[in-house]
Amino acid sequence: MDKKTIALVGNPNSGKTTFFNMLTGSNQYVGNWPGVTVEKKVGAFTHRKTEYDVVDLPGTYSLGAFSEDELVARDYILSDDADVIVNVIDASNIERNLYLTTQLLEMGKKVVIALNMVDEAKRRDISFDLDALSRALGAPVVPTVASKEIGKDALIEAAIAAIDEDREPVNPVTYTDAVEHHIEHLHALFEGRALPYPADWTAIKIIEGDADIAQKLHDMRVDEDVLRGVDNFRRYHSSDSFELDVVDSRYAFAHRVAEQAVVRPEQEVVTLSDKVDRVFTNKYLGIPVFALIMLVMFQLTFAVGQDLLGGVAVEIIEGLGGLIEGFLGIIHAPAWLISFVIEGAVSGVGAVIEFVPLIAVLYLLLGLLEDSGYMARAAYVWDDLMRRFGLQGKAFISMIIGFGCTVPGIMSTRTMDNRKDRMITLLITPFISCGAKLPIYLVFIAAFFPSYGGLVLFLLYAFGIFVALVMAKVFNQTMFRGESSYFIMEMPPYRIPTVKNVLRNMWDNVSGFIKKAGTIIFLVITLLWVLAVLPTSVEPYSEFSLLGRIGAFLAPIFRPAGFGTWQEAVALFAGIPAKEAVVGTLGMLYAGQYLEEGMILVDAIRQHFTPLTALSYMTMVLLYTPCAATLAIVAKETKSARWPVFMALYTFAIGWLIAVIVYQVGSLFIG
């Protein structure tokens, strides 16, 4: 018997991710780690000795052709790869969630409803007649609380039962007379012809004016008569009002179901969430509260990740380095191997690994923020200000996600409703400093500003946001002039983050960071090491080595910014494959130079930089060309090779320019 697949479909904020984690536990094939684009997550679980696959589709409000996310979800459902669809519904938000359900029913799919977060609904005094709900929808309904693993077994049983069941799902929606008339007409046209999709659903999509489906019918070369009929309809009979009529009909059905099966209190219960919102979304307090949350986040990252745990990581790396060195000595390994391992691998890759605790804390805090529902508030309070820069509030969510990693930050622009907002946000997100750049700042902060770590970090991040906003304004006035923009966003209630979600998110990111250190960064460091010790006739790590000469060739570019030695230039370029390699490269190059004198990286940096050049170098790192993974995702999201090239060049130019300004203006004061 082949393995059965369950697909999860639901609105954003319906608790779908928690649901996925509940079903699959730790059994996921694909982590969502930076650098790998995951459109749908896949996992598995075993029930009564049978294994089932679970596919988590992107959260969407609809299954039209509105956004990339909707298309991904819709195409997967249409592919028939799933044996049953579990539709996760937010119990407190029945109507809008049922809007999506009606579309699944229209598609004629086997659906099982997970009525999720019933505990929250209960707190708001909302109760359900489950039988009535199930009857109205023609689908089994199971109440669940995914965060507490309530209803898991019942849901799994219902899904498995539905897979084996033979019942044909019926579309329960009644459309307006005109729409019904056209459905009938198109249905007659489709009669007896091979169609790639269910006939009634195809008819509804054509009536809705769905260009994607019309195009797909053409691409799949369905029957000539069908194509002609569809094109005729689109040309002569279609009307914009049909599209809205269909939405109205679906909502009318959702309201009817809610009336039959949901009991709501006369007066809405004022929840704690509402009270918190009075402060967090307050006209005057909103932005200060946001700034405070960010400042606390960076201070905590520092306090826990660096001061508390950072030392441990350093000791482990150094201890390990000592052990390996001792071992290599005992087996009489050749000198070049010892040099490679100690100066290259341990100093280079080790310099990156030392920051694992810090990265872990940052992702933990970001995860908490994301899970709590605060992101929507941040978007809300920033919308007004963002608008002045030609952006909308949602762009701010992408920017906050970008604090962790630019790649998901850029992917999150998919939730934006129009091209202009999306493109501008995508172009400015690299200025938002990501987790991988953190180690670079930290060694410089440790060298020059040890007492003001959190503050310097906060200011760097704030400056990144500032540059991003200014560039948004510039793009808005130039390349994307006059295109329209609008903002609609759900404000989900605050929720206590689930430990499992937050830890999972943290682990995915941290393991991604470690994997990168072991692969890309190791390769970059190895390559640079080879270049640094060749040719054998010259002093290794000197400016006469191959790497030294390449660096010396590039270095003059950066002289106006104050850091014109070859090591710093090489490190910047080494950071383009992955940002962590900047620290790794400096670690290796300085280790080769100073290790015998017993200096550590921070000391070496003090030798090579002044507080001012440290600032200009950090500014350059903050702003210059993003990593290869970012450029790759930009190519993918924009479906173009030009945008990533543009991004690589313009960010480099901006970074260089501002680093030069920092250094030159700073020099005037310091002399």
Binding site: F66, E95, L244, V247, D248, N418, Y486, I488, M491
Partner: protein, 92 residues
């Protein structure tokens, strides 16, 4: 624009942005672009949907839609037409 009076409650056609906290009404039309209108419809601002204002001072307007909060940018909110039901004060 005033249409009807009874028992101290009157209704009138208003734009979402002109309503104040606590006011409510039913959506009767949206005068925005095609995609924005469709999106508003799909998010629940379809014909006849009842809306209550939670917050309308600066920034986007926050409304309650079937008991759930939605934020709508001011520009777009100004294009949502409601049949407003208000307390009689300004009506008689």
């Amino acid at each position: 624009m005033r249409s009807e009076h009874w028992k101290g409650v009157c209704t009138m056609t208003k734009m979402l942005t002109t309503l104040r906290k606590g006011d409510g009404g039913k959506v009767i039309g949206i005068d925005a672009g095609k995609t924005a209108t469709k999106r508003l419809y799909e998010m629940g601002f379809n014909t006849g949907a009842s809306v209550k204002i939670i917050k309308n001072d600066s920034g986007p307007v926050i409304v309650s839609l079937n008991g759930n909060k939605m934020a709508v940018g001011r520009g777009l909110a100004g294009k949502i037409q409601l049949e407003a039901t208000e307390k009689s004060a300004g009506c008689i």
